[in-house]
Amino acid sequence: MNIANILARKGSMAVTVRPEQSIREALALLERHNIGALIAVQGENPVGILSERDIVREAARNERFFALTVADLMTRDVITGQPHDDLLTVAHTMTERRIRHLPVVDKERLIGMVSIGDVVKAQRDHYQGEVDTLQTQLLAGESGLAH
């Protein structure tokens, strides 16, 4: 299983924002789409990621954080995924590096985003499916119907 299989059943594209937009606008987008992170883009090229964490961290020490721009708070060194990256590796990297949102690019063009929640769910379904199939085969062996 790879990232493409997760994106295939996610209708929505990643929600994007421009670096010069205000944090107030960014918050409105997070709220409207009920999501935890926005991808900052220039054209179709992702240049940063802004998560609710980045905003909370700033809000805790700066009363006037609303007036800042996305560029002020976003993380610039973004790790991106590609459609054919396999799920196991992606899950490992996201857990190890504490990444919750992974923008997915294809030939430098942003095509979607997967969250750690998406990855965990896909992995769970994958293991559940394997267990189910193995159980069926074990039952087949026991009943002696197969040879």
């Binding site: 299989n5 396999d86 490992h92 990297t93 095509i111 994958h126 069926t136 085969q137 197969a146 040879h147």
Partner: protein, 467 residues
Amino acid sequence: LTTSTGTPARPLRVAIIGAGPTGFYVADHLLRNPGVAVEVDMLDRLPTPYGLVRLGVAPDHQKIKFVTNAFDKVAASPGFRFFGGVDFGKHVTLADLRAHYHQIVYCTGAQTDRRMGIPGEDLAGSHPATEFVAWYNGHPDYRDCVFDLSQESVAVVGVGNVAVDVVRILCRTPEELATTDIADYALDALRKSRVKEVYLLGRRGPAQAAFTNPEIRELGELPDADIAADPAEVELDPLSRAAVERSQDRATAKKVEILRAYARRPASGKSKRLVLRFLVSPVELIGDDAGRVAAMRLVRNELYATSTGALQPRATDRFEEIPVGLVFRSVGYRGVPLSGVPFNESWGVILNDKGRVLDPRTKEPLVGEYTAGWIKRGPTGVIGTNKPDAAETVECMFEDLARGAVLEPAHPEAAAADTLVRQRQPSFVSYNDWLKLDALEVAHGRAQGRPRVKLTSVEEMLAALGR
């Protein structure tokens, strides 16, 4: 007062398109829900149910087919009907279904293969692996395919389970195959096979190969085929070694160990030879004067890490040529668009969000249309993976029912749908008909010491039902 949909007086009527495992898992989740009264009509373009369990799973893997017992239980539920031999888009249209059902679920799978995109791909003797699989499994649409098994050297491109099935069937003896439910005509053709050497070609390394450890172990235990691998190709490159160590992935470490043992194993004089190759991609099929495949040109690959750490292949400038007269490609699959149903070309699936089919313009869900299985997420996972996938879709269906977002069919009675099918496809096959065919096949098989002997044409099936 109108009774609300989903009550015994007015059951939720659902059409499921496709009678493969996913269709049955969707039906099961729908019919098992105690709070909602549901009636399911399952349509399939073929007269027989079970999809790839009957027509994809290899004949020498009968245990996997045991899952059909669970499907038969679902089919025995009150409120379930099967209309086999009814083709969506031909016998019934989307408009017909909208007039008879509150909800429609597309579970049509991934019906076509990806191409390699290389010169010579369409030479005689180059085939999609799925056509060979459908042929040896007795698929009515593929029974007349011809494969030139007089060739001595065959290449199978890809290392997923379809590719592994194909090499195994090519390497089995006729005596082994004769105890399976392989199609009779395929057994006859394979008895005359002159295949001696079979290559299994992976574009990445042994650590990235999709085959499972039981599958690769089985290839090393074939009675009349020696297995061989290049010792250099089964050694892990530094990137793969680091990845396996970092993730403490014991299954992959074990896989590499099995492959290393194969590379050390001397040939024992069996009549066939199965050669595992890694880090190679075909770049061209070379034809002879008659336009038949005669050789395959390969490029050696190396691996690089993407920014998530996933390892992908990259071509080097080292090439080689292997003589092969028959090529099966198994480099990925994709869904086929259904008439009038939005399609996501990038992923080869129906455009959807968690199984709700989306309007391509607004990206909002279309009322009453859903999808599940491979046509929803792409071809990945084992049969059982479609169970949680189907559950997700059914959850959306019940959510939408609860807020009244269902179709309002003009003829929501079960009898009306039955009449429609009888008009459009009088020779449809019901589940009871199928159970009769099943009993016939099994009885015929028992006489020969086989699990069953398959009926492989629609005419044969209808004749067996006395039509």
